[in-house]
Amino acid sequence: MPGWYYDKKELRHSPSAQDGIDYKTEMRYRKEGARLIINTGSKMDLGYNTMATGVVYYHRFYMFHSFKQFPRYVTACCCLFLAGKVEETPKKCKDIIKTAKSLLTDQKFTTFGEDPKEEVMTLERILLQTIKFDLQVEHPYQYLLKYAKCLKGDKQKLQKMVQMAWTFVNDSLCTTLALQWEPEIIAVALMYLAGKLSKFEVVDWMGRNTKHCRWWDMFVEDVTMDLLEDICHQVLDLYSQSDAPIHPDSPPLHSNAKQQMPSLRPSNGQEKTLSPDRPPSVNAKGPPLSDVPQFPYQTFTGAPPPAAAYASVFPSSMAGPPGGPPPHLSGPPPHIAAPPPAVFSYVNHPPPFSTVVPPGAPPYFPANAPPPGQPPQHRPYYPPQ
């Protein structure tokens, strides 16, 4: 059974890479496809799970095929089409194509060929057999909400933190994180990031015991700070990228981008409550909370990456030249390790983890069921009449 997780070396040796597409371009293609799925889904009022499932199919698909073989926007539509059916929010193929067309330039739409619907239909079967009919995909959202319910502290701050983490999860879809880490881990890492950025430090939580150093020790094991930081950086790197067409041979964007960014945006005074039971929708044009980073998908095109400012919460050593910790932090938390010297020097897959609390899946036979052939412990008496 193929696992759906890859280490960074494997991600660098993707079919596209073997097909002559450089890594940076592939990451851009992945991001553009993911964004088309999200933008198309948002426009069609599809839920966040449907869009996220479509994006995961998309990333998995390109671990078996090259972007030269299958143009990214047709694949993106096909993934959304399938995810709609799987998540019980089906949309007509022609409507998905129509919506996607409205979001693409005519030139980009030419990859859909003369009969776009036929193109998607044929591709659907290829998609299904590529992803091994592994239709059920879990996303970090549910874990984010589950974990948030256990955290203690100022309610409003917690809500802001969850809202911000939620946005980071949305954005993480544009990375290959879903190909690297289980949704539980991504949820922990991005809540950690949001906690840092929203100044919400978790000091107490429900179910805490003496073995727990960090709140996430309750849910995941063997998650190192290095790993969390690596995940956070993969998301933050999105905000330091430009979407302007890049020549494959052009030099990489300046890696200091993060630290060049302006500081936190001023509050715009909007306030909206967030109930953990009613998660915010991805298709909200911007996160409702005032000082939550304003970077819905639409904003990373061209415009200066607003969220990159948040990189400043990391110790200066991470962002390049020393700049000192941001004023709101008394100093870098001691546990924050220096980042890996280069983003992709980390080729070994980090240690495996196991969930402490298996959350729902995989299915198990409840323990209170009477095993066949053995009398149950509490058997009511039914007098036959």
Binding site: H13, T111, F365, P366, Q385
Partner: protein, 410 residues
């Protein structure tokens, strides 16, 4: 083009079709995509490592017709002793691609892994080629089960002892307990969808109508379709238009199947929804707010003709068949009109029926006497409206045997 051993090694055939896919160093992404002929070639030769070809199996015979396609018995070429059932996914006339019903069934089968639920091994594909417009056909591949309950019950030579009946019903309820615990409704309980291996292990099958359900915390009622379940096994709440139903719909079916273990044919063979309701009232008593307080809220309660003054006769009418008082009592708790009062799988499994002598006993020995596969699809049609009907099996006519098992083909 040489077949590759790994997808990663698959050579992009640019060299074979010079100029077809633009220059590899082209800067515009679209100029580097394949043309149609290249793509077709690619689809034909790509070795999908996650989806095997149907050629690994050899079709033996057709054994049924599922909700969305035909079912075949097949042999695993790499292990001739291993048999599988292959269910074709029908995709003709599908405007919206791979059918959502098939996707649902696949997802549910991937979730459910239990001794008493049919096991999905894999999904296979046919080779894409010019002949199918580069679109594969897909088959769901299951572990093969030798019999289905409808087929067994239609054969008078198959005689179940009380202990064996208990084992069948216990496994049936165990399967239901498991799927309901996983928040899945089967929605098509009937004897033909209950498979039994030659070793006597029961497997719930055909999840083509199954769906996930949630116990609505929000208070918003579910709006499921009530056009499910074969009429003869359909519970009164569905016949009255309930859309916010749950596991009790499957327990009603389990009750009907349990009774059928003795009557040998379905106990209520209505020919219309109205007729089915009438038959239910004649067995379970009039459907009134007195026995079922919320029944008046159901859409069709006032629209259907509700037989009045019918006495509940479940025990009275079934005792001649069942004899065993515990069996009668359990059936009386399953065939309850009000779904909220119907026994759930857990309660039913705790019933004395399963915990008194004769205890449930292994079916393997009895089934060992029968070397012919018995499926309803292969059996002569059962005549309707005849409670005591025992159909005579026709002589087997089959050239294929597997370890002594013959398939009746007519």
């Amino acid at each position: 083009m040489k077949m590759q051993t790994s997808s990663r090694d698959l050579e992009h055939n640019q060299n074979h079709h010079p100029g077809s896919s633009g220059s590899a160093t082209g800067t515009h992404p679209h100029s580097t995509t394949m043309n149609m002929r290249d793509k077709e070639k690619y689809i034909e030769t790509f070795l999908f490592p996650n989806c095997d070809l149907t050629e690994k199996y050899e079709k033996v015979t057709k054994i049924g017709q599922g909700t969305f396609g035909e079912v075949f018995k097949a042999r695993d070429k790499s292990n001739p002793k291993k048999f599988v059932a292959m269910k074709k996914v029908l995709m003709d006339n599908e405007k919206e691609g791979f059918p959502i019903t098939a996707l649902r069934e696949i997802r549910i089968l991937q979730l459910l892994k239990h001794e008493n639920v049919v096991n999905l091994i894999e999904i296979c594909r046919t080779q894409a080629s010019q002949h199918n417009r580069y679109r594969s056909t897909f088959y769901l591949v299951f572990d093969f089960c030798e019999h289905d309950l409808a087929g067994l019950l239609s054969n008078v030579n198959v005689k179940f002892s009380l202990g064996e009946i208990k084992k069948v019903v216990q496994q049936l309820l165990n399967g239901l307990y498991y799927i309901h615990s996983n928040k899945i409704l089967h929605r098509d309980m009937k004897a033909a969808n209950v498979l039994i291996t030659k070793n006597g292990v029961l497997k719930l099958a055909d999840f083509g109508l199954a769906r996930a359900f949630s116990t609505n915390k929000s208070g918003v009622p579910n709006r499921f379709t009530n056009r499910v379940v074969t009429l003869w096994y359909r519970p009164p709440e569905l016949l009255l238009g309930e859309r916010n139903y749950g596991p009790p719909v499957d327990l009603w079916g389990a009750g009907c199947i349990m009774a059928e273990m003795w009557t040998r044919s379905p106990i209520m063979q209505g020919n219309s929804e109205q007729h089915q309701l009438t038959l239910i009232s004649q067995l379970c008593g009039s459907i009134t707010p007195a026995v079922w307080p919320t029944v008046e809220t159901l859409d069709l309660y006032k629209k259907m003709d509700m037989p009045q003054k019918q006495k509940r006769k479940v025990k009275e009418r079934l005792t001649p068949y069942l004899k065993d008082p515990y069996a009668c009592d359990l059936l009386d708790k399953l065939l309850v009109l009000d779904p909220s009062k119907r026994a759930d799988a857990d309660t039913a499994l705790n019933h004395d029926f399963f915990w008194t002598d004769p205890m449930p006993c292994d079916l393997g020995k009895m089934l060992g006497n029968h070397t012919t596969s018995m499926f309803e699809f292969l059996a002569p049609p059962r005549r309707a409206n005849q409670m005591r009907h025992h159909s005579m099996p026709r002589p087997a006519a089959s050239t294929i045997t597997d370890g002594g098992y013959q398939d009746r083909v007519f």
